[in-house]
């Protein structure tokens, strides 16, 4: 791992541990994870169930507290940050895409996209919004409610929302977990393009080698620690790696 002072970091974690419960019943989800996410890169986090990949994402995104270790978004340390400031940080500097249930059913697509900006009371950058809406290809669906959109379209709206505030980093938690392969491809392509065209930083948790192959590098987690890393992944290379790790 190279520590570069010239490349800005979008996020960083150092010796993160996370333990649930206490005493004999204690379960360790993260056992000392250090990772750097350079700005403008697309990182996948992979690992079997219970490897701690979701926990890592939650801790790095300020959704969950850490037991020890430190985490930063940009230059700002979020470990130990009070809830109120964390909320504001999530709102202004982080974008989220979840596996399901990303959108508020009562808002039309356009309003879902601008929701974080509206919550903050920021007026959206129209030009940027147009750019995003064109990128996700949903201009004719903006006045539709989530229930009138397909699963893939819903996820694309969620990505548009994540990008709308020009966050420092986007965390995507199994964004294609509920989608068929065609819709998955569209969503992943969109995430890829957001990195390539807009210089967005994306961290995606996934268990799908095909999904991981869209990213710049893959970080493999097992039992709460990073066990391997792979640059320029292809579905085959990811699969090979997973096999190797499984042995």
């Amino acid at each position: 791992m190279t520590t570069s002072t010239t490349t800005a970091l979008a996020a960083r974690a150092e010796g993160l541990t996370k333990t649930y419960g206490s005493g004999l019943a204690a379960v360790t989800a993260l056992a000392g994870v250090s990772i750097e996410i350079p700005a403008g890169t697309f990182t996948s986090v992979m690992g079997p169930s219970g490897s701690g990949k979701s926990t890592l994402m939650h801790c790095m995104a300020g959704l969950d507290s850490v037991s020890s270790g430190r985490a930063w978004i940009g230059a700002e340390e979020i470990s130990g940050m009070p809830e109120r400031r964390l909320t504001r940080l999530r709102r202004d500097r982080i974008g989220f895409v979840f596996q399901a249930f990303n959108l508020l059913p009562v808002l039309v697509a356009a309003d879902n996209i601008t929701l974080p900006l509206d919550i903050a009371g920021h007026s959206p950058d129209r030009e940027w919004l147009d750019t995003i809406i064109d990128a996700v290809g949903l201009r004719d669906r903006l006045r539709h409610r989530p229930s009138e959109l397909s699963g893939g379209q819903q996820q694309r709206v969620a990505i548009a929302r994540a990008l709308a505030g020009r966050p420092q980093i986007v965390f995507a938690d199994e964004p294609t977990g509920n989608l068929d392969s065609k819709a998955s491809a569209e969503v992943l392509d969109l995430l890829r393009r957001s990195v390539g065209e807009f210089g967005q930083t994306v961290v995606m948790v996934t268990h799908d080698p095909v999904a991981a192959s869209y990213s710049d590098r893959v970080v493999f987690l097992a039992d709460g620690v990073i066990v391997d890393e792979l640059g320029q992944p292809t579905p085959q290379s990811v699969l090979d790696h997973m096999k190797k790790l499984g042995e």
């Binding site: 109120r84 249930f101 009562v106 929302r161």
Partner: protein
């Protein structure tokens, strides 16, 4: 199955507690009314029986049965000579004449001493009738300047034997020396009332009864039955005076009081019924939402082999458990509440003698049973819906989707509403049949609730509009949420709608009546000042009219007396006594037929409206019952157009006093130059029981009874509003649980806790205002119909208290915020990660 049910109960304990509270409040109100009236009946019974202690026969005045022209004779108190004749009856051991009236004891500051009512009597000279007055201190009243008061009043006013005390008699303050104090039976006071006792001759003089009695108590010689004694005494009495056994007299009094109490009981039960009806909505809605949320669980039970019957029974058993707890809690609450009712009523000017607490088991069981039955009925529909859950739904990702609005629903809703409204109108038009009107209102409420989902969406859209300006889109989201499930929103708002509709209807009705009163007075009155008694019981001494007439600037004064009577079978009608010679120069009666002077010969004048209502003609006989004084049949000697400051039925003061035994004025009408105000005011300094009013304040004071009634009705209906608010709390809390993931998502993408709380509060306000708006609209319609129906006979008036209704809506909106507190806190406290992961 049972275990699953109990797990469900425990899991939803908070929601169910709210639901139980909704029913418990209704049951509490109902059982509280029962306890209250039982206690009151008991208090009065014991009061009446204590009054008769040592007495076997009571001799009292009565109007001659069917005594037309009773008014042509002189007043008929019992002449003192009768007492002597009674004493000579062989089987009489003792007999004593007495005077009763009203006298208000004043404290040292000049303010009335506390007491639920005021009684003045003469001290029985014969020791045989003194047993009731126990634990006496000092001596009985002897001279003209002495009074004996009850122990409770002495304690409250810090009076000791030998002190001087001011006593208000006929509105005039007089000073006496306290000769002693007394208990009454086992109590320190006269069943909560104050007692002033004077020597017989003093009482006769104070109450204008020189040489006569109000009643004579007779004690039988040993071995003579009360009935036998009565017959013997009755034989020597002249017409117009009767003898009753003490038991009969007490029974008659008790019967009359119970008759009045049953009106009070009905009054309370109506409100208890409203509370339970609203409570039923809350239960129905809560169970509906909970069934919706448990679709998967129920489907799983079905998939595992539970039959439809089992599902139905388990849901119903759940509601029964809630109902039983609620009913029992309600009964407990009711016992506590009954005390509150006494306080509430006295706060609205209705004082009652209440001692001790009587808990009637039968009526309480009825109240509890009603609560349980209503819970079961309200839960039956959701329970049935639970049986319709298909087992396969356990496997689907069952997001409870709000059912659409069907054409059947529209038809059914419209049909029920139309039938309800028709019943209301029919009830009002055909002589105001309350049962028909009430049933119609009930149907209309149900119909409008069925139609609710249709109106909930557009209403939420409009009402929520101002909230969309809230920063952070919370208002838009809130509005969206209330529009998401219009059925739920409308069911929640419906409960509030009912309470508000009734409050608004009452307000419109009362406002209309007051406006009518004002207009009536304004149209006819030629009076400059009104000197009115502050207390109807204490009244004004007739002597005051002469004093007023002697003041500089005063041109003329006339005395008006007033009483409550049963006229042609209709209870609680006002009958006024007036001076036939002068009344015409104080108010323009606008005689249609007959003459005012017909009053001189004992005739009755009625308003055109009353005559039209009953189909009376000049010369017809009208039966009027004045209190316990029997029935008079008075001939109609004239029909007049303008009620003015008087009432629908007028008799001469002579007739009035003869038939009521009442020698006090209610109001003196004064014609005077404006400059007379000062002298009149100064004169009244010696009459704390009299107040000087101009036309506007007099009109307002006449409306004050109505205003009090409105306040009482509103206070009663506030309970229904509280229950409806519990319903909002429940719906919101259940919605928060249902939308856990959504709320988690909002928190994840940066919504602050405060914003989330604001969101929930905004939803609550929208629902509350929907209820308030629907309720006000409905209330306006009902109120206008009621006002029209009730004022039509006199002068059709519909007046809408706009600011008052606006205030109700604002208060309801604020109450909506209050209802949101608990659910909003719950939403704000959600753990983001758990919320996102929630199923």
């Amino acid at each position: 199955m049972l275990r699953a049910m109990f797990r469900g109960l425990i899991a939803h304990r908070l929601r169910l507690a709210m639901t139980a509270l909704a029913i418990a409040l209704g049951v509490g109100f109902m059982s509280g009314s029962f306890v209250f009236t039982s206690t009151l009946t008991h208090s009065l019974d014991s009061l009446i029986s204590q009054a008769g202690m040592g007495t076997d026969v009571v001799v009292q005045h009565s109007s001659p049965a069917g005594g037309f022209g009773a008014g042509s004779g002189a007043p008929q108190p019992i002449p003192a000579s009768i007492l002597g004749r009674i004493r000579r009856v062989p089987d009489v051991a003792a007999a004593d004449g007495g005077i009763t009236g009203h006298a208000q004891l004043l404290g040292r500051g000049g303010k009335a001493l506390p007491g639920q009512f005021t009684v003045a009597t003469s001290w029985p000279a014969d020791a045989a009738f003194q047993a009731t007055y126990t634990r006496r201190a000092g001596r009985p009243p002897a001279g003209p300047g002495q009074v004996m008061i009850d122990r409770a009043s002495a304690r409250a006013g810090h009076f000791a034997v030998g002190d001087t005390i001011k006593v208000l008699i006929g509105g005039q303050a007089r000073t006496f020396t306290i000769s002693g104090s007394t208990g009454y039976g086992s109590a320190d006071s006269f069943a909560g009332g104050s007692l002033a006792m004077f020597s017989l001759s003093t009482a006769q003089q104070l109450f204008g009864q020189a040489g006569s009695y109000d009643s004579i108590e007779v004690k039988a010689a040993a071995g003579v039955s009360a009935q036998q004694l009565r017959d013997e005494v009755a034989r020597i009495l002249p017409p117009g005076i009767t003898a009753l056994t003490a038991v009969t007299a007490a029974a008659a009094q008790t019967g009359q009081l119970n008759g009045q109490l049953s009106i009070l009981t009905k009054f309370f039960l109506v409100f208890a019924g409203v509370a339970l009806f609203v409570g039923a909505f809350v239960i129905w809605n809560t169970f509906s939402i909970m069934i919706g949320q448990r679709t998967r669980e129920l489907a799983l039970l079905r998939a595992l082999g539970a039959g439809r019957q089992q599902v139905f029974r388990s849901v119903l058993a759940e509601s029964a458990a809630v109902g039983i707890v609620a009913a029992l809690a309600g009964v407990g609450l009711g016992i506590a509440l009954s005390k509150g009712l006494v306080v509430l009523l006295s706060g609205f000017g209705l004082s009652l003698p209440v001692t001790g607490l009587v808990v009637p088991p039968g009526p309480l069981a009825l109240a509890a049973g009603t609560g349980l039955a209503i819970t079961l009925i309200a839960a039956a529909a959701p329970a049935y819906r639970a049986t319709r859950v298909a087992p396969v739904q356990a496997l689907r990702d069952a997001v409870p989707s709000p059912a659409g609005f069907s054409a059947q629903r529209l038809t059914a809703g419209l049909a029920v509403t139309v039938v309800g409204v028709a019943a209301v109108l029919a009830g009002l038009l055909t002589g105001a049949s309350l049962v028909l009107t009430g049933a119609g209102a009930l149907l209309a409420f149900i119909g409008i609730t069925v139609l609710g989902p249709l109106t909930a969406r557009p209403l939420a859209y409009v009402i929520g509009f101002p909230l969309t300006r809230l920063p952070g889109r919370t208002g838009v989201l809130a509005r969206g949420n209330t529009m998401r499930d219009p059925k739920r929103t409308s069911a929640t708002a419906a409960a509030l709608m009912i309470g508000l509709a009734l409050i608004v209807a009452a307000a419109v009705m009362v406002d209309s009546s007051r406006t009518m009163l004002d207009r009536q007075i304004a149209v006819a009155s030629k009076t400059s000042f009104y000197v009115q008694a502050t207390s109807a019981d204490i009244g004004l001494t007739p002597h005051l009219a002469g004093v007023l007439a002697a003041q500089p600037g005063v041109r003329a004064v006339t005395e008006v007396r007033a009483t409550d009577a049963t006229v042609a079978g209709a209870a609680h009608k006002n009958v006024d006594g007036v001076d036939p010679a002068t009344i015409g120069s104080f108010t323009d009666l606008g005689m249609k037929t007959g003459t005012v002077s017909a009053l001189h010969s004992g005739a009755l004048l009625v308003t055109q409206a009353a005559a039209a209502g009953h189909g009376w003609q000049l010369g017809d006989k009208v039966r009027i019952q004045f209190g316990s004084f029997g029935v008079s049949a008075l001939r109609i000697g004239g029909i007049f157009a303008n009620v003015g400051p008087l009432s629908d039925y007028l008799v001469s003061n002579a007739t009035f006093t003869a038939d009521t035994g009442r020698r006090l004025d209610s109001v003196d009408l004064v014609r005077a130059a404006p400059a007379a105000r000062g002298p009149i005011q100064r004169t009244l300094a010696g009459y704390p029981g009299a107040q000087l009013m101009d036309e506007a304040t007099f009109a307002r004071s006449r409306g004050a009874v109505l205003a009090n009634l409105l306040n009482l009705i509103t206070a009663m209906l506030v309970l229904a509003i509280i229950i409806a608010l519990l319903g909002i709390v429940n719906t919101l809390a259940l919605s928060v649980v249902e939308r856990t993931r959504e709320l988690g998502l909002m928190r994840a993408i940066g919504m602050r806790r405060g914003q989330l709380a604001q969101l929930v509060a905004a939803e609550s306000v929208i629902i509350a205002v929907i209820g308030a708006v629907l309720g006000s609209a409905l209330g306006l319609a009902f109120g206008a119909a009621l006002a029209e129906a009730f004022t039509r006979s006199q002068q059709a008036t519909v007046s809408i208290p706009v600011t008052q209704i606006a205030a109700y809506i604002v208060v309801t909106a604020l109450a909506g915020v209050l209802a949101a507190i608990a659910p909003a806190r719950r939403a704000a406290r959600l753990n983001v990660l758990e919320a996102i992961a929630a199923e």
